[in-house]
């Protein structure tokens, strides 16, 4: 069973506003569903999109499985920090992005710590990734995996999620020119690495 299709951004923003207006979470958690189950509706509407964003930033379906749930907890906890005068999606993306960066740092630290003792690839550690991988998932992970982290973030936000360069720059906290340069590099790298796998034939003329 799959969750309901992701609603429009307007729906999610409306739900986020409703959730934000509800009683503050006590100790980070409520001890029961809020009136009208706004939290549940928000979760169902938001989870698939957050999961997809995590997969894009991490280039890993398994990583997304982990971080997306954590991101949902963070978003629910920190919703009061969102300024309703600004777009909800931009705020959400920043939260998700920071969590993904944290995870990548932790994975690198762990790999350094354990690598000498027992080198194991991430896929060996995670049977779910193997079980869940299908062609689209594997190709997306593989494709985004050729990019450097900053290039991947920019590419996901602009070319896959449809944000403008200016929006992406604000979410990433960098200049728009930096975003445009990273996007150009990302596209060039993808073109070189993926054209054959995506069924294209290099122009030899």
């Amino acid at each position: 069973m799959h969750p309901d299709p992701a609603p429009t951004a307007f729906d999610i923003e409306t739900l986020a506003r409703a959730l934000r207006a509800a009683e503050p979470l006590e100790g980070g958690l409520q001890d029961g569903p809020p009136p009208g189950d706004v939290l549940g509706a928000w979760y169902r509407a938001e989870y698939a999109g957050v999961h997809r964003l995590c997969q894009g930033f991490l280039a890993s379906r398994a990583g997304a499985d982990d971080v997306a749930q954590d991101a949902m907890l963070h978003l629910a906890d920190k919703l009061e920090q969102w300024d309703p005068a600004r777009p909800y999606a931009a705020w959400r993306n920043r939260v998700v992005l920071h969590l993904c960066r944290d995870r990548e740092r932790a994975v690198r630290r762990r790999a350094q710590h354990e690598g000498a003792l027992e080198p194991r690839s991430e896929s060996e550690l995670d049977p779910a990734e193997i079980a869940a991988a299908n062609e689209a998932t594997a190709l997306v992970d593989q494709s985004l995996g050729v990019l450097r982290p900053r290039e991947r973030e920019v590419f996901v936000l602009i070319d896959l999620e449809g944000f403008t360069a200016q929006d992406a720059a604000e979410q990433l906290g960098v200049a728009a020119s930096t975003v445009r340069a990273a996007l150009a590099l990302a596209r060039r790298r993808l073109r070189a690495a993926l054209a054959p796998q995506l069924g294209m034939v290099e122009d030899v003329s």
């Binding site: 069973m1 799959h2 969750p3 006590e26 100790g27 980070g28 958690l29 409520q30 001890d31 029961g32 569903p33 189950d37 939290l39 549940g40 979760y43 989870y47 698939a48 999961h51 997809r52 894009g56 398994a62 990583g63 997304a64 499985d65 982990d66 997306a68 749930q69 954590d70 949902m72 907890l73 629910a76 932790a106 762990r110 354990e114 027992e118 550690l125 995670d126 049977p127 779910a128 990734e129 079980a131 869940a132 299908n134 689209a136 998932t137 997306v140 494709s143 070319d159 896959l160 596209r187 060039r188 993808l190 073109r191 993926l194 054209a195 995506l198 069924g199 294209m200 290099e202 122009d203």
Partner: protein, 195 residues
Amino acid sequence: MSEPPMEPDAEREEQVVSDLRALWLALPAPDAAAGGVPAEALADCDAVTRAVVERVQAAYRAQVVAAPEVPFALRVADRVRRAPRRRGLQFGRRIAVAAALLVGAWAAMERFGARQADVAPPSASHVAGALPAAPRAVATEPVEHSRAAIFDVPREQLRQRLDGFEYRSGAVRIVLIQPTEPALDGRPRTEPTGD
């Protein structure tokens, strides 16, 4: 006036981006909850915790226990455990038990190469709190570079297999403690008594 023709490289980039975007939109939705926890127990939980518990249960049912699930399940259990003492607390303890059993079963499988059938997954009744011996200490606390899960598993088989075992690669350390009398104030006992 028509647009000038695109350079071949630019065309290829456009095609790559277009193909990737199509794949992106075709990504399968994350697995939804498969159930397994009594509805009346889940009713005490917020939607996020509910989804996590259901996901852990679904992983058990599919006999696919993923590494990332475990520390996350423990984090959720810890958060719920530390929630104000209302109806959520007791359920939080039950979640902690489920998470601990998850860790234990998974670690046992990995450490001893046990067949999955050898390690009984927590049934719905476990999660609902119908344990033969209620846990007397459920706590998690941060330790250096890892998270310690200190729990009392009322399953002798798991106890024998896991006592003193440290699972390091999942950033989760399992410490089994000997059963003791519950604290007089009824609060979870957090100090480790055997490591």
